[in-house]
């Protein structure tokens, strides 16, 4: 437990560091939202000055940061000028949607990658392994932007899937089951894009970790004693390879969130990605900071989950900490 609480404390420190870093960056920014208001003849200079005063825009940087921290404590995370609302109110629904997309996609990608990678490792050098290696290399060279656009074309051409978005227009009138089904249908293409982007990396990693384990003496010995190969592969080898695999889960989350940003924006899934892009276009810097902090939070939470899994699965990690 000490191990996990230390990771947790570390996560908080990183989060605080990121927030300071983003404030310093934002302070370097040449323009801000109210500048455009100043050009608007319908808004009086006094009004702009009052707004600046109210949001503390003329204060020095440390005071601004304290101001922001206070609003974090109040659960507002700063104020969005473009939407005229606290940032948190805008952020949470979007963050939930991003999780709704990325969590199932990650699970599905792992569920597909582990058997394929394990099988490929057991067939090492033979034609199924070669086919698998060729396919993953081909998939690796397809950029996520192109993949998302390509799937969108599939949606348009076949008509089986909705073209972007998250809900049908009549969503509110649907019954419980129909709502879930509607969401799943909308989820399918963006999730497929995420899965396809992540699959080649995962399969390769599973394959190489398992090849290392399969060469180990204890597996060779078990094989010689006549343990069935399938049981050997999926029960013993996979368990022995769990440490590098779980480490990869932690490492892959950063890439997953970045890919998700592109996929969300292209397929108009109302997640954090499109919100961040809108915020940048509107020069709504508090909202930018909010979205960035939120993505950092996801990444740290994901790493924490991976750490916890590692702690549970690998006795060596536990032994190190005593």
């Amino acid at each position: 437990m000490r191990y996990l609480s230390r990771r947790l404390a570390h996560g908080f420190l990183v989060l605080a560091g990121v927030s300071v870093l983003s404030f310093v960056f934002v302070a370097l920014a040449p323009g801000e939202f109210l500048n455009e208001m100043r050009l608007d003849p319908r808004i009086s200079p006094e009004m702009v000055a009052a707004l600046r005063d109210r949001y503390g825009l003329d204060q020095p940087l440390p005071l601004k940061y304290l101001h922001w921290l206070q609003s974090v404590v109040r659960g507002e995370l700063g104020f969005s000028f473009a939407y005229d609302r606290p940032v948190a109110a805008l952020l949470w629904p979007r963050a939930r949607n991003t999780l709704l997309l990325t969590v199932p996609a990650t699970l599905a990608a792992w569920l597909i990658a582990v058997p394929i990678g394990a099988w490929s490792a057991s067939q090492r050098g033979r034609w199924p392994d070669r086919v698998c290696a060729g396919t993953t290399t081909a998939l690796l060279t397809v950029p996520e932007l192109l993949l998302a656009l390509g799937l969108l074309v599939v949606a348009v051409r076949t008509g089986y899937f909705p073209i972007g978005g998250m809900r049908s227009a009549a969503f509110a009138e649907l019954r419980e089951w129909a709502k879930v089904k509607d969401l799943a249908v909308h989820l399918f293409l963006p999730a497929s894009a995420l899965i396809l982007v992540n699959l080649p990396v995962l399969i390769r990693h599973v394959r190489s970790s398992l090849i290392d384990v399969l060469a180990a003496p204890f597996i060779q010995g078990a094989h010689a004693r006549g343990v069935p190969p399938r049981r050997l592969l999926f029960r013993d080898a996979l368990r022995a390879a769990s440490n590098p695999l779980i480490s990869l889960l932690g490492l892959s989350i950063a890439g997953l969130l970045s890919t998700s940003l592109v996929v969300e924006a292209v397929m108009s899934w109302p997640g954090l990605g499109p919100l961040l892009l809108e915020a940048i276009a509107a020069r709504d810097l508090h909202l930018v900071i909010g979205a960035v902090m939120c993505s950092t939070l996801f990444l740290l939470a994901g790493n924490l989950v991976a750490d916890a899994l590692l702690y549970l699965s690998d006795p060596r990690v536990r032994a190190d900490q005593v």
Binding site: P143, L149, I163, A254, L276, V292
Partner: protein, 343 residues
């Protein structure tokens, strides 16, 4: 020479040729990238013919004049009354190669006929020509940004690993903050504090700087680890005992050991950074029209009708795949090569 190092050479030289050839984009492209043909928006790739309507065969390919079908916006038909053979080294729009002005193009056809190998975009501009000129931005941005990120990473990583102590702590804590953000979010966050609309030349430099600046942390961490183990090797300790200065030991004994990793990182980072430029320009945060980059060309498919009807508008995105394949192949070969050397 081992098979691995032969492979490294083969892939590396292919990539050098690819990156050097973007200099000749103006020559290979039949038209100027911004030359509009307002009467030919979204014309499909021009068909190259060998056989005339009369059935006569020509060894030299030829095209017909393309005219829009009366009463439609984007339907075209060929005017088969006269054939226009494809000519080589034909005179056309002026362009410059490394400062020298010229007007000969590798191929083209006589006016008024046009040869659009990859079709035209919404303003009737030649996609093939724009793709080639856009490569000057997209491919070069990736290489420059990777170079910048690696120089920063190597410098800071070596500093941290070599001197240790508080330098090490400071550099690595900051690197940790950079790595705690999903990389595209970080890139966008840094981009967000820069002005939205910038002229293309400055946008290009800014993009390279931002991408390179954002990417230093991972290579720095790798290099630090290598330097840490390298500085404890016997020959390094011996050099120190003979009174070698820090700079000498770093330059002569420590940094050469990281060369393999640095090159592999270069091959891994360049495609990522090419994609970063394409992604930013796709979202309108990078190089702006009318200067072509693969990203802002691809942005046209955000329009629903373009997405569904004109497949050739995807070519700037599809062109990324073979480029990426070359870099992955090089990275793999380099990886095997360095693994062989160290074993």
């Amino acid at each position: 020479m081992s098979a691995a190092s032969r492979q490294v050479r083969a892939w590396a030289s292919l990539l050098v040729i690819l990156n050097a050839s973007v200099v000749f984009a103006g020559f290979i492209a039949p038209y100027a990238p911004n030359e509009q043909n307002r009467n030919l928006p979204f014309a499909g790739p021009t068909r190259l013919h060998f056989i005339e309507t009369t059935g006569q065969f020509h060894l030299r390919p030829f095209v017909y004049l393309v005219v829009s079908t009366p009463g439609s916006v984007d339907k075209y038909e060929e005017d088969r009354s006269r054939r226009y053979p494809v000519r080589f080294l034909i005179r056309g729009a002026r362009y410059t190669i490394a400062g020298f002005a010229a007007d000969r193009h590798l191929f083209g056809v006589e006016e008024p006929a046009k040869v659009f190998l990859f079709g035209t975009d919404q303003f009737g501009r030649d996609v093939f020509s724009r793709l080639l000129v856009g490569a000057q931005i997209s491919l070069v941005a990736g290489v420059l940004a990777a170079g910048l990120a690696l120089s920063l990473g190597v410098a800071l990583g070596a500093l941290a690993g070599f001197y240790g102590g508080w330098t090490d702590d400071a550099v690595m804590r900051i690197a940790e903050l950079f790595l705690a953000l999903p990389w595209l979010y970080l890139l966008l966050a840094v981009r967000s504090v820069l002005p939205l609309h910038i002229d293309p030349a400055r946008a290009f430099l800014l993009l390279v700087t931002v991408i390179g600046f954002v990417g230093w942390a991972r290579p720095a961490r790798l290099i630090r680890g290598m330097v840490l183990s390298a500085k404890r090797r016997d020959h390094v300790l011996a050099a120190r005992a003979f009174g070698a200065t820090d700079m000498y030991v770093l330059r002569r004994h420590v940094l050469p050991q990281t060369a393999g990793v640095v090159l592999t990182q270069l091959a891994v980072l360049v495609p990522r950074y090419i994609l970063a430029e394409v992604t930013l320009s796709f979202f309108g945060l990078g190089v702006a029209e009318p200067v072509p980059s693969w990203g802002n060309m691809l942005a046209a498919v955000q329009r629903y009708d373009v997405l569904t009807s004109y497949w050739w508008m995807f070519l700037p995105g599809i062109a990324l795949s073979p480029v990426f394949l070359l870099y992955y192949a090089l990275a793999n070969a380099l990886h095997e090569h360095t693994a062989l050397l160290s074993s």
